[in-house]
Symmetry: C2
Amino acid sequence: MHAYTASRISLPSRSALPNRPEAFEPALLQPLGFYPAGAEIYAQGEKAGAFYQVEFGAVRVYRLLADGRRQISAFHLAGETFGFEADTTHHFFAEAINSTGVRVFRLTAGADMSHQLLPLALKGLTRAQEHLLVLGRQSAIERVAAFLVDIAERQGGLRQVELPMSRMDIGDYLGLTIETVSRVFTRLKDKGVIRLLNLRSVEIVKHDALHNMSE
Amino acid sequence: MHAYTASRISLPSRSALPNRPEAFEPALLQPLGFYPAGAEIYAQGEKAGAFYQVEFGAVRVYRLLADGRRQISAFHLAGETFGFEADTTHHFFAEAINSTGVRVFRLTAGADMSHQLLPLALKGLTRAQEHLLVLGRQSAIERVAAFLVDIAERQGGLRQVELPMSRMDIGDYLGLTIETVSRVFTRLKDKGVIRLLNLRSVEIVKHDALHNMSE
DNA sequence: CGCATAATTGAGAGATTTCAACACTAGTGG
DNA sequence: CCACTAGTGTTGAAATCTCTCAATTATGCG
């Protein structure tokens, strides 16, 4: 349904990220999975039993309705963790957005990882609940502003934001169509709030304006 | 901002609930808080350090925008657990919807509750992510259908559903206005899918139709 | 019984979607 | 190196859905 081409966008180095990624023991012994653009990491209904940490690239986690409508519940950038499930079954799909390296942490029957997993699960829960406010109560321009602010913060708060995902991905994350996403980008550009350097990178010119818009 | 009056709706007994509530040790020694309709259980920004289990009644957890728009991220019915936070600070508000009894489990520095909390956090995460699909990609009628199906299941899958919350709460949960919620109820009634026994109780006549609508 | 609150209904306005055309981009192969 | 092509993004116009504003009805508690 979706076909994506690898991009040459370089994400900020891990040390530039606001939240240093956790080091799980024995992290270096865990297998590193490589996924090309669009590759499935796991599917809804599949047996779960691991969690994942993005080394480089980006991941989308989503769910589908019967008629193909898609809701991306989260993007995961370098250093971030995803894939834990309440059940022994995956409730969502996860795909590499572009060339992505993922460290896989298998959950073994013996080892207890509750300590490490609980803060990650709680962080994810807070994120999801905050996103509910965006989807439930914010206008298109507020949603895009919130998205840009969020991504910018996760990339270290730099002026320039690199978007690893397509407009369609952004739309499916924000509950909007690609046309609306595109129109809002144009509106923000015309207002002088952002500059579109190219399709996948945005410069935030009026950081305050963007921030105010999103709350 | 909101004033609610207590209702006389009797929720199903705990034994009728599909998921038996966890028994946390030493549960019976934990204080039982009583909250009248509309009372605050905790506020955003407040110090966290406990989690809560509904004994009777119902709770809404929500977040506000600066201009007063509200998004309810979850309702919690008898037997359900809520209130764990990633941080030491509450990111949301929690209020009793009507007269509600809540068991409070303080998190003490010594005791480690990761084992008990992780599955609850993961369950909450899955719920929130599923709700994202509803808010992001479903129409008003689909949202209300999904809501009724969800509440019905959590009340034991009975034909008759008791709604402890107002139309405004439902609207703020589904990202709709009260007028739209009301119109959708009327539409579902006219289609013969549900019957409105009174304002707070709904009989599901065509369960399959409702279920199909919500997916 | 009566008042305040909550819910329903109607009509018009507004935001986003849909459908359609066009432009741009990146990768391919001549 | 350029033309070609498929995919991606932008823009426009009309349609649709939900919201807003307003009036009416119903409910529940004192």
